[in-house]
Symmetry: C2
Subunit: 185 residues, 2 copies
């Protein structure tokens, strides 16, 4: 950030009075600009004993497998965002979805909030951001080809919970690893 | 947003190629500016059978009671943010906290993520944003003086879950009501 988005004067990075963190401040019009973490919402789409993954058509991690997920938009609920991303990336309509996990990715200032829930029918397709979409049993999961640590962690906890047979208690965790090539989680 | 924060040229609100929503775009340097929901993190601090509330010293809803909560900061985990807000607003050190609820406030593009957990000792005080801080039994909760609908909803579900005696399963909900005087939830 170089210039004030309100009045176009140059901004400075400094701590506002009464605050304890540096923010971009415009001395000309008095605007203070806050930057906050972004929320990524996604889902584990379930069909019978299988779950759905998408092969990424875009960088970062093009060609690797992931769950449908993306940035929550303004005026959208978390569940609506997860349903939208699943429709866009996998052409899948979800039934009732349940909150499943929150993961912190402090190194990229992102929070992932993941749902799980059934596909309404056995139909899916490759959205613009996917090269390929498919259903996988646990044994078929391409563990070495999963795009992001946070997705691998989500899937590991999911299959562990499913095997335990006591439902899906809400999960929380922090991803500490550095991202691949400076992007994503 | 009037000007590009990168190059100071005027921005326009339009749909980028490959997108389906309007964003502020700079035709001069090509920057696209995304605005996304903000995450508010907070906690229900517990001491024996009581919970802690803060009387707000700032607008909106000055003089009304609330739970410690505030915007998550960059590079912070959700739990660390909830602990920081509880320390800042109520001078309380929390023990182990557990995720409890997510509430969508789409009318203000906010997501509240609330924890619950014990205070490490029976000590609290009024931080800069609080006029007063106190512990309340369920019967003492000032229901008509709670600052925000999302906080009232959090407390109602909490006492209902506590009465049921089956632990605190993760809660999710959407607040649809309009905010008071155009602010908060």
């Amino acid at each position: 950030m170089n210039f004030c988005s309100n009045c176009a004067a140059p901004v400075e990075l400094k701590i506002p009075s009464g605050d304890d963190r540096s923010r971009y401040i415009c001395d000309s019009c008095g605007s203070i600009f806050y930057s906050n973490p972004k929320l990524v919402v996604g889902c584990i789409p379930e069909w019978e004993e299988k779950i759905l993954l998408c092969k990424r058509a875009i960088e970062p991690r093009r060609g690797k497998w992931t769950l449908p997920a993306g940035y929550l938009e303004n005026e959208e609920t978390a569940a609506a965002g997860a349903r939208r991303e699943t429709l866009e990336e996998a052409e899948v309509i979800l039934g009732e979805i349940e909150p499943y996990a929150l993961f912190d990715l402090p190194f990229v200032s992102q929070i992932y909030f993941m749902f799980r829930g059934p596909m309404v029918e056995n139909r899916f397709g490759s959205g613009e951001e996917s090269l390929e979409v498919d259903l996988f049993t646990e044994a078929e999961i391409p563990w070495d080809e999963i795009a992001f640590t946070v997705i691998k962690e989500t899937l590991q906890r999911y299959f562990r919970d499913r095997a335990a047979g006591r439902g899906f208690p809400f999960q929380m965790g922090t991803i500490f690893v550095k991202p691949f090539r400076g992007h994503g989680g």
